[in-house]
Amino acid sequence: MLKSHVLKAFAIAALFTTALAGPVDAASDKSAFRMIVGEPRYMDPNLAADFAIYVNAQLFQPLARTDKDGNLVLLQAKSIELAPDGRTWKIALNPDYKWSNGQPVTAADWVYSWKRILDPKTGSETASFLSDVENAMDYNKGTLTDAEKVGIKATGEYTFEVVTALPAPQFRAKLALPYLTPVPKAVVEEFGEKWVAPEHMLSNGPYKLVSRVNDQSIVMEANPHYGGAKPAIPRIEMTIASGDQCTAQLRAYEADEIDFTTCVPSQDIARIRGDADLGKQLDPFALAATEWVQFDMRQAPWSDKRVRHALALVIDRQAIVTAVSDGTNRIATTIVPESIPGSNTADALKGSIEGAKKLLAEAGFPDGKGFPQFTISTTSTRERPLIAQLLQQMWSDNLGIQANINVLEANAFRAWVQTRKTEKYDIMINGWWSDYADPANWFGDLVTADPRQNHFTNEAFAEIVKKADAETDPAKRAELYRQANKILEEEQPMTALQNPTDLWMVKPDVQGLAHEGVLNMYHIGEAAFK
């Protein structure tokens, strides 16, 4: 009696759960390209400075692209010419490129957008990419209020000019940055910050935004008025992930829910590489990026070159690369990656562990005796805490010096790095990703501008970099940077550890999804289903 009632209760519960279940989604017809991305902080291309540029790149297109040899491949521009003064860039737009409502993309849109990036009220993190432009930084910092004085102006309906403060050869590469795209002036002025809503947004690239649900999904469809080759894939469906995106992507990829992943969790790399099918779908790309360990150059013992050399010489980079990436990252012996002009791996520091011990003894710390206890600070992401532990052990085993590890949450770490401008530290782990394939992005933007608070000051280095920045002959310029590179590696304010590798996975029925540029962009508009 009781039993039958209990069974009934079970049956009701079971019914309830199956009613909730509903049908499982059927496998998609292959008209949509499916992927998982992080929530873009900004859909506004004038504001996007993080991974949102990869989402935005499907919608918004820059003037050109840079090929492997540093030449411009024109997109929205019909021509880009540098005037004989070495400062004036004359840009003619290709009138075939239109906004997604069919209206022309004009010079007025471009000029408006770039000044909007610089406008302090916009608060854009991408403003620094226009820092070469005459009066740009004064306007951005608020010391100059007249936007007309900024060296960007329209000279016709489809032509505009950009004047740099000094001859700036690196500006050629910046003209092709995905950060510098246009926004539709009229729409932005009408709707303000809400212009990015799907019902208002106009884009100039291969796709247009069809729908966006915050933290849930983004859907794009081919822009019918796009001036370039029409996309073969008519629709993109992006699901938004937060937190551990790599794990979410890999699971969905293995369950055939998405066509493409942009990373593989480090603990899964060995399994994927060992799998007969999945291993073949792995598509690695060597990034022009470096992760390193850096010293606070302002204080002892780090201001002593012998100490820096000793610590650098006992690092087993192969052990680091194996531990964090199953050997897919590459060993870095110099800060500036090989693919950037001016780099030279022959400048790498050479020596042995015995030599390192001798150097430390010469600096006054035989067998590490008397060496102050110090702290390695790092962000909690990107396997960096693991790198810190490996360094801690290598230094303790080989030199007899003891380190503590201070792991900070990502946002707190960034804020902490900024306060190191005035406050002291010992050692931190950090990294730099090329924004554009030009040595100025490393020797200037990284070392001289010092956003990582390394406090490396060297007169000879500064002089050479200053000369190189203004040198218009590419060969002479590269040679100057090579001299600077020699000083940088000899002084060793930062010790390079590894060059990260992006691990994409692409389903076998997708073709033509290529890695583009130093930022490793993907352009779904150029891919197709087999």
Partner: protein, 312 residues
């Protein structure tokens, strides 16, 4: 009853005020600023200053404290820094319903399964059945949700392909199965254990024996005499779980890709999105207060003694 209600509602005011004060100062004391969560390069100090001014972050903290409170009292919880096109009110309106729906389904499942299982465990003479039910409840209490969610996704999603591994398509789709089960497991286990214990307690009480002696059928005795009396502790336990199941779990929502309140709340903390942190905490606090009140009110319906005491 009315005076009880009024007393409880009045006592909620200082609770909410303390919650607001704590979360306001803890949020602002956390290192990092809303403008530090960018990409490769740090933001210019001058731009930071402009943004601070735009959102009144350059004002002294006590001014921010009072002005936010004043606006919140009028129902305006401020803008979001993480997504400048949205206000906190927009965010709550969009993300809270998703979590509420999932949470309600999970609680329903926990109660509908938990009560019969708890009763069965108490009444059965069969050690295997009791053991099995006890195993379910022990697992449910001891396994953290992120483990449950991951196991369910890897086995049912990646392995068997029965459910999607990620994303949200609505409550009545396969995409809600994993989150509902993950959320339901802990309250289910608690309801089973609690109901089993209290059923055992009332089983041999006089009124049950009397009912049996009168010749009543077993099921009416179990439901009307035992069940109703044993229900009170189970309701209290379910109520304490309801508050956090309803507002959403960060782990379940992050791992299963659910755009819910729990996930957004933690993302806001990572982004130092002060208005969102404060606004969502206040709403969380209100939900906890309301659910506790509802649990207390349910005693009146279930327990005649509570009504009597109030009547005196």
């Amino acid at each position: 009853m009315l005076s009880f209600l009024i007393k409880r509602i009045l006592s909620a005011i200082p609770t909410l005020l303390i919650a607001y004060t704590l979360v306001f100062f803890i949020a602002h004391a956390t290192p990092g600023s809303p403008w530090d969560s960018g990409g490769n390069r740090p933001i210019e100090p001058s731009i930071k200053a402009v943004l601070d001014a735009k959102y009144n972050l350059d004002k002294p903290l006590y001014v921010q404290y009072t002005s936010y409170l004043w606006n919140a009292l009028q129902g305006d919880f401020g803008p979001s820094y993480r997504d400048r096109t949205q206000s906190v009110n927009d965010i709550v309106a969009r993300f809270l319903p998703v979590s509420l729906k999932l949470g309600a389904a999970a609680m329903l499942l926990a109660v509908l399964l938990g009560l019969p299982l708890g009763a069965l465990a108490a009444l059965t003479r069969h050690p295997a059945v009791d053991g099995l039910i006890r195993m379910i409840s022990t697992l449910g209490i001891s396994m953290p949700t992120y483990v449950v969610t991951s196991i369910l996704i890897v086995s049912l999603g990646v392995g068997l392909g029965l459910v999607p591994t990620f994303g949200w398509k609505g409550l009545f789709t396969a995409s809600s199965l994993v989150p509902i089960f993950s959320l339901a497991l802990a309250p289910l286990a608690a309801v089973i254990r609690c109901f089993r214990t209290s059923m055992l307690e009332v089983m041999n009480l006089d009124f049950v024996r009397t009912a049996r002696a009168k010749g009543m059928k077993p099921l009416p005795i179990i439901i009307h005499h035992m069940g109703r009396n044993a229900l009170i502790p189970a309701i209290t336990v379910a109520g304490s779980y309801a508050a956090y199941v309803l507002v959403g779990s960060f782990f379940v929502e992050s791992i299963a890709g659910i755009p819910g309140f729990g996930r957004y709340f933690v993302l806001a903390i990572a982004a130092r999105d002060y208005p969102v942190i404060i606004g969502t905490t206040l709403i969380y606090a209100v939900i906890v207060v309301v659910i506790n009140l509802l649990v207390d009110l349910s005693y009146f319906l279930l327990d005649p003694r509570a009504r009597l005491e109030q009547g005196r």
